[in-house]
């Protein structure tokens, strides 16, 4: 530990920030859907996986330029997420919450097994465009260019999302629907449309996260969404599920914490995944609403 130089520390730090960015992007999808439907979308990790595979096939099978393939994958995943909502959640809108939750688990298994059949179980190597694996040198610290791009792209997307939610009429409608469906209907807001849009945005962010995940860990398997999905769900809970800022915070805490744990205490490397779950248990014990979550009070 004492032997760690500044350079090495900085490398771990940038690595943690870029992993945290990915967790944040995916965690937002959980938190937005929860905010509007009070549903844990168990299929979210699988939607993330679909995005990565579509980008892979765009480059390898269709021989598209990588950037075009990424754009196609993002758009496809966006519609895929909306289709999942329409097919598996919308018909259950007036059913008990538990039915929707079971449907979510069912959809998740369905997508995973469909992926095994369609894509095959054998791992695939994600093609990395050269601009993402150049070694760049910032102030004596050399990092892979991807480690730099991931937080920058994440930041741009977050800024766009915050603008959309707080400064457009549709974003306002989304916040209104998350509080009160019926009052929103009385404002002539099409609640179903807003819910569909929420899934679209969450899936879009998951697709971007998935593609960058593929660039960082370039091995695709049909179950690749399971662990990141769980961890990002945990990130959303840690931050306070339903709160977008909380999801971002939770994502960074988890990503940085995981990398730093392994860097500072190499003996615990094998417990890397357990870290997220231990953190979850601790947060649930100390502050069950999450770091930024708040209890709602009603004024009479």
């Amino acid at each position: 530990m004492a032997s760690m130089t500044f350079q090495v520390f900085m490398q771990h730090l940038t690595n943690g920030i870029s992993l945290g960015s990915l967790y944040a992007l995916i965690a937002i999808g959980y938190t937005m859907v929860y905010g509007i439907l009070r549903l844990i979308n168990f299929a979210h990790g699988d939607i993330f996986m679909i995005g990565t595979y579509v980008a892979f096939y765009g480059v390898t099978l269709l021989a598209l330029p990588w950037w075009l393939s990424f754009i196609v994958a993002i758009i496809f995943t966006c519609f895929f997420g909306m289709t999942v909502e329409r097919a598996a959640y919308r018909p259950l809108r007036n059913s008990p919450k538990i039915s929707v939750l079971i449907s979510a688990i069912g959809v998740s298994f369905f997508i995973e097994n469909l992926a095994i059949v369609v894509f095959g179980g054998r791992p695939k190597a994600f093609p990395i465009p050269p601009m993402f694996n150049k070694i760049i040198n910032i102030g004596g610290v050399s990092i892979v260019s991807l480690t730099f791009y991931i937080p920058v792209i994440t930041l741009l997307l977050l800024m766009g999302l915050v603008y959309f939610i707080h400064h457009t009429k549709t974003g306002m409608a989304m916040r209104a629907v998350s509080k009160d469906y019926e009052a929103a209907r009385l404002m002539a807001i099409d609640v179903d449309k807003i819910i569909s849009l929420t899934f679209g945005i969450g899936s879009l962010l998951a697709a971007v996260g998935g593609i960058m995940w593929g660039l960082k860990f370039p091995q695709l398997v049909p179950l690749m969404g399971v662990m990141p999905g769980l961890k990002c769900f945990i990130a959303a809970v840690i931050g306070g599920i339903g709160d977008i800022k909380g999801a971002v915070l939770g994502g960074f805490i988890l990503g940085l914490g995981e990398i730093m744990l392994v860097a500072l205490l190499p003996a615990l490397t094998g417990y890397r995944d357990a870290f997220a779950f231990i953190l979850l248990i601790l947060i649930l014990l100390v502050k069950p609403t999450g770091l930024m979550g708040q209890k709602l009070t009603e004024k009479v």
Partner: protein
């Protein structure tokens, strides 16, 4: 303007409305009074398409409303200020008002109506950047009414606007209702505060366990012995 004929509503095994008739002519204030659970809110919810009726008709400007979704009904100019205010607590006052005009596209008209609402409720202008959930009950009620006005209603329906408000505020709300009416909006008012609502109403209906048991001019109902006994708390 709006005509309800033989409206029947069932839910959860309860026959909530038993063939009621209500007529709302243009530019009038109509009130519907009755005890808790008499079916007042159900009537309003049926008009808005939030509750499905089992029988009867609701005609608005010569066309049936039953086939429309809530969204379309709002766009036709009918607005409900719901019971319990139901403002969006996580949005600012101004954002709540903007959502009131959600279906409108005329930016200039929206800005003008926003000014009009702020003139009517100066408190809201002072607090336009505040989260609506942090305001007092009376201010939230003003916001709920203001939000309703933002969609430029032809028929404004209010469900218990004075519920839970201090007497001074109740007076203020009723004078604002009169002012809105003077500006050319037809009003359907539901109240437990029977006295105040009958005083401003052109015509009133008394609802009891899902049926209209009495109707008449507001002034006549005020002096009616049965109404006095049951709703105005005056013993003979």
């Amino acid at each position: 303007m709006l005509e309800i004929k033989n409206l029947n509503v069932h839910y959860g095994g309860i026959h909530a409305l038993r063939g009621i008739h209500i007529d709302i002519p243009e530019n009038k204030i109509i009130t519907l009074i009755g005890a808790n659970g008499a079916g007042k809110s159900t009537t309003l919810r049926s008009i808005m398409g939030l509750t499905k009726s089992s029988e009867g008709s609701i005609q608005y400007q010569g066309e049936s409303l039953l086939k429309y979704k809530t969204k379309d009904i709002v766009e036709k100019g009918i607005v409900l200020v719901p019971e319990g205010r139901r403002i969006f607590p996580n949005l600012t006052v101004e954002e709540n008002l903007i959502l009131g005009a959600y279906s409108r596209k005329d930016k200039a008209g929206i800005a003008k109506d926003m000014e009009r609402v702020y003139e009517l409720f100066p408190r809201l202008k002072e607090r336009s950047w505040q989260k609506a959930g942090t305001m007092s009950g009376g201010e939230q009620q003003m916001l709920a009414v203001g939000r309703g006005l933002m969609s430029k209603p032809k028929l404004l329906m209010m469900d218990e606007p004075s519920l839970g408000l201090a007497p001074l505020l109740v007076k203020e709300i009723f004078s604002i209702i009169k002012e809105i009416h003077r500006q050319g909006v037809t009003i359907l008012l539901i109240e437990q505060n029977a006295k105040a609502s009958l005083e401003i109403a052109d015509y009133g209906y008394v609802l009891e366990t899902g049926s209209i048991v009495l109707e008449g001019k507001g002034k006549d109902l005020l002096t009616n012995e049965e109404v006095k006994k049951a709703y105005l708390g005056e013993a003979k």
